[in-house]
């Protein structure tokens, strides 16, 4: 195996001089330095895919903002984490998440423990800027313990990544394209019939919304142990 040589790189985030290792992302270096960038699909312990675009930042000299969770640092780059343009873009991203599928907080089992909902508070989203699409997906409640409700899915793929990278089962993946994309089990079989699912429940714990949830648990009792993955990875002595 050829190892990439790790070098130290210097650059600025919001005018603050920071240093990081060349294999680190902008997000990692920002957090190491106490600079907060809002994220959604990112979960410490899992790989980053940049699917939600919530962590976009501006880079001097680049035309479009880029997701900081997947962008590796470069010597001398000037990163801006918050500007009117970035703020407007994040609000629009959040709007599209709310309006694409059926996110009705008041009837949702994770009301009060949802990261999409808390993001609306954090980014002070007053309302959706995009019209509601009113798409409907079939709910898979075949599994004895868990439910998969694609209507509440934001396609962050945390469940897919945790199943593949931590549990090692890769029972989940994406199916379809664009607005109709869904998280499926095996070859789009009912969850109960999945031969690769170990029923460990990690996917349910890391889900930011109410797309994956435990059966027979009320809104008041529900706990999403999202940090469980970070804990596991640490205990295993991985990065």
């Amino acid at each position: 195996m050829i190892r990439e040589k790790v070098r130290v790189k210097k650059f600025t985030i919001d005018g603050i001089c920071v240093t990081g290792q060349s294999n680190q992302t902008i997000l990692e270096v920002a957090r190491d330095n106490g600079i907060e960038i809002p994220t959604m699909c990112h979960l410490k312990g899992l790989s980053d895919v940049g699917s939600c675009r919530m962590c976009i930042v501006e880079i001097e000299g680049r035309h479009e903002p880029i997701p900081s969770c997947t962008a590796k640092i470069k010597e001398g780059m000037e990163v801006t984490t918050s500007s009117p343009k970035i703020k407007a873009a994040r609000e629009m991203i959040l709007s599209m998440m709310f309006s694409e599928r059926y996110h009705t907080c008041s009837t949702c089992v994770v009301n009060g423990d949802c990261q999409l909902q808390s993001k609306s508070v954090e980014l002070e989203l007053s309302h959706s800027f995009t019209p509601y699409l009113n798409q409907r997906f079939e709910i898979d409640a075949s599994h004895k313990n868990f439910v998969n409700d694609p209507n509440k899915c934001i396609l962050c793929t945390r469940c897919i990544r945790v199943c593949d990278e931590i549990e090692g089962a890769h029972a989940l993946d994406l199916f379809g394209r664009g607005l109709g994309t869904r998280v499926i089990h095996d070859m789009d079989e009912p969850w109960a019939d999945s031969t690769s699912c170990t029923s460990c429940g990690k996917c349910v714990y890391v889900c930011p919304t109410g797309a994956l949830y435990e059966k027979d648990i009320s809104e008041e009792e529900i706990i999403k142990k999202r940090e469980i993955v970070t804990e596991l990875v640490r205990n295993r002595g991985q990065k």
């Binding site: 009705t104 907080c105 008041s106 949702c108 007053s126 309302h127 959706s128 509601y132 009113n134």
Partner: protein, 177 residues
């Protein structure tokens, strides 16, 4: 000081937000010093009046009547406050959008009706193709989410509007609160 002319209306919602309004309890007496309620389910007024300073709208838009009245409200009010999740997102009122108005009418007036199976055609307004939040039909000035919006949030919002100061809405309430 001239009193603020306040209207409130209950469109496609459960009236929970209006209940929350009443839950301001004794603070209503305090607000009454600054506010004249000129149109509301709380007062007997048939037509929506002219020159309203602020109209608080609960509920989403789901019928042709809702659309007509919200346009009149926009014409006659300086400011519109969307109160509660139904007015802002469609919320529970918009759940039927996933199936369509036709499916809902079929269920309510045919499948579950023992007698007189027919579409409603008189008195009741016609359902829109889909339920929409207020801002998809008219310009909305303020959004105060919640299901229902907590009384404390309504009070703080009204006080801030009366005193002409800004408030952090997201410290008081959120979607689904």
């Amino acid at each position: 000081m001239k009193k603020i002319r306040l209207g409130t209306i209950w469109l496609d919602g459960c009236s929970g937000c209006h209940m929350s309004f009443l839950d301001m309890d004794e603070r209503l007496i305090e607000l009454a010093e600054f506010v004249d309620v000129v149109y509301s389910p709380y007062v007997d007024m048939k037509e929506f009046p002219k020159n309203v300073d602020l109209t608080i709208v609960e509920g989403a838009l789901s019928t042709d009547h809702d659309l007509k009245i919200i346009k009149k409200i926009r014409e006659n009010s300086k400011l519109i406050l969307a109160l509660g999740d139904c007015a802002i997102t469609g919320n529970v009122s918009a759940m039927k959008n996933l199936y369509g108005s036709e499916a809902i009418l079929q269920k309510g007036y045919f499948d579950l009706a023992d007698l007189n199976q027919q579409y409603p055609s008189e008195v009741v307004p016609t359902l829109l193709e889909s339920v929409i939040p207020l801002h998809e039909a008219v310009k909305v000035d303020y959004f105060l989410p919640g299901c229902p919006t907590p009384a404390d949030a309504i009070y703080e919002m009204l006080k801030a509007l009366i005193e002409g100061r800004e408030i952090k809405i997201h410290e008081l309430t959120r979607f689904g609160k």
